[in-house]
């Protein structure tokens, strides 16, 4: 059994860890509120953008001449995966879930004999993926310096992707991120952004006759690159809310576990202290008896 001093030291160290995790939980809770707010505020923009694009793409008569960002390059050989993770750890399964989702997708692609290219956003994803898929990662983007997700960062990522698409470096682009559902649930998502998936929302009544100025094609070719940045921005917002949520619940768990540990250690400490007292008593009594 560990000595009393050792136990005491362990109790203090667990207690101070608990203090840290508790503080982290508080910070995450405050940040979560803000991240959630901005995720909600950002929603109208991406929804409106989506609507307009749906209306536009239904107005396009000739699919052949449609912009490539919408119709695709006609091939499905090279896949670009944009894996969006956080820059910081200690947030439970947040990063691991995205990576898991991405990895299972990668294996599927491998089986089908497709070529794979990876862009990682956020350093944690890069750390985990570079061991196995190091040769596939073509770019690593990290926004350690910017405090909150902002549109300019998203635009930067969007520009890189579009540039690569125009150089025909890939055919299909998918982004991976965590969708924020609530504090304890985040759903890893794989969303295809190039070519744009317009079929799923067909129930949207797009019978309105719009006037376009200039014509559909030109608007679309201007709008689609913006839409990519918008989608990435949306993913970033969802991600940052998810990250804080995941961190909050992870730190909550850690605090609780530390509490349990302190309880257990305290019992053990008391027990061994009592044992020492009893031992001493026995020694005194047996000493007195032998006299």
């Amino acid at each position: 059994m560990a000595s009393l001093d050792d136990l005491k030291k362990r109790i203090t160290s667990v207690k101070s860890t608990q203090k840290i995790t508790k503080a982290m939980k508080m910070v995450a809770a405050a940040k979560l509120k803000r991240a959630q707010d901005s995720a909600e505020k950002g929603r109208p923009y991406s929804e409106k953008m989506n609507n307009i694009i749906l209306n536009l793409s239904s107005g396009i008569s000739d699919k052949e001449t449609a912009p490539k960002l919408l119709s695709g390059s006609g091939k499905e050989q090279i896949h670009l995966c944009v894996v969006m993770t956080s820059d910081r750890g200690l947030c439970g399964g947040f990063n691991a879930n995205i990576i898991k989702k991405a990895k299972s997708y990668f294996t599927k692609l491998n089986k089908e004999g497709k070529e794979l290219k990876i862009i990682t956003v956020g350093s944690k994803g890069n750390d985990q993926l570079k061991r196995v898929y190091g040769d596939k990662i073509i770019e690593n983007i990290s926004f350690k310096n910017s405090k909150n997700a902002n549109y300019f960062d998203a635009e930067k990522v969007g520009k890189i992707i579009i540039e690569k698409f125009q150089k025909e470096e890939f055919d299909i682009c998918t982004i991976f991120y965590n969708q924020f559902k609530n504090v304890i649930t985040q759903i890893p998502q794989a969303q295809q952004i190039i070519p744009l998936n317009t079929k799923s929302d067909d129930q949207n009544n797009s019978e309105d006759n719009y006037e376009f100025e200039p014509d559909e094609d030109e608007i679309l070719s201007n709008l689609l690159p913006k839409n990519i940045s918008t989608q990435i921005f949306k993913a970033m917002l969802e991600n940052s809310a998810s990250e804080q949520g995941a961190r909050m619940s992870a730190m909550d768990n850690a605090t609780r576990n530390a509490g349990e540990m302190v309880d257990k250690l305290t019992i053990e400490y008391n027990r061994s202290r009592q044992a020492a007292i009893t031992k001493e008593l026995i020694e005194i009594i047996s000493g007195a008896e032998s006299l």
Binding site: K41, Y45, F212, E213, P214, F233
Partner: protein, 130 residues
């Protein structure tokens, strides 16, 4: 019958402005300025750098935008823009900074014609604000 309609301006971060009592909006559409009144036909267009003027019952407001898409439908005008500033709140040095950036951009040698045109528009608009 009133001749007012609704306007919504959103940027990626938040819903920037929402008004219900608008009489007329003039937007710098890509192919020239365009005034929108109530019961305009449904339209989608996009913007070049310029000034959005909103004539509302509560007064006239002017905003500087760098780009954007507009959609008008069922007497609701939605403007989506990535960069918007209220002319009233704009500060002199901020303006100078924007102007400098725009001028630099338009003077880049490798720039494409369309981008050059946009940058020139930006410079012109900013100068007119000055």
């Amino acid at each position: 019958m009133s001749d007012e309609f609704k306007i919504e301006i959103v940027n990626p971060e938040k819903s920037f402005l929402s008004k219900e009592d608008v009489n007329e909006v003039v937007v710098p559409a890509f192919e020239g300025e365009m005034g929108i009144l109530k019961d305009h036909i449904s339209i989608i267009s996009f913007l070049k750098p310029g000034i959005v003027t909103i004539q509302a019952k509560s007064g006239e407001e002017k905003y500087y935008v760098e780009d954007g898409i507009i959609e008008f439908k069922n007497n609701t005008l939605s403007i989506l823009t990535s960069y918007i500033l209220n002319l009233k709140d704009i500060e002199k040095n901020k303006l100078q900074e924007l102007l400098k950036n725009a001028e630099e951009e338009s003077n880049k040698p490798e720039i494409s014609d369309q981008l050059k045109y946009l940058a020139d528009q930006k410079v012109e608009t900013l100068k007119s604000i000055n």
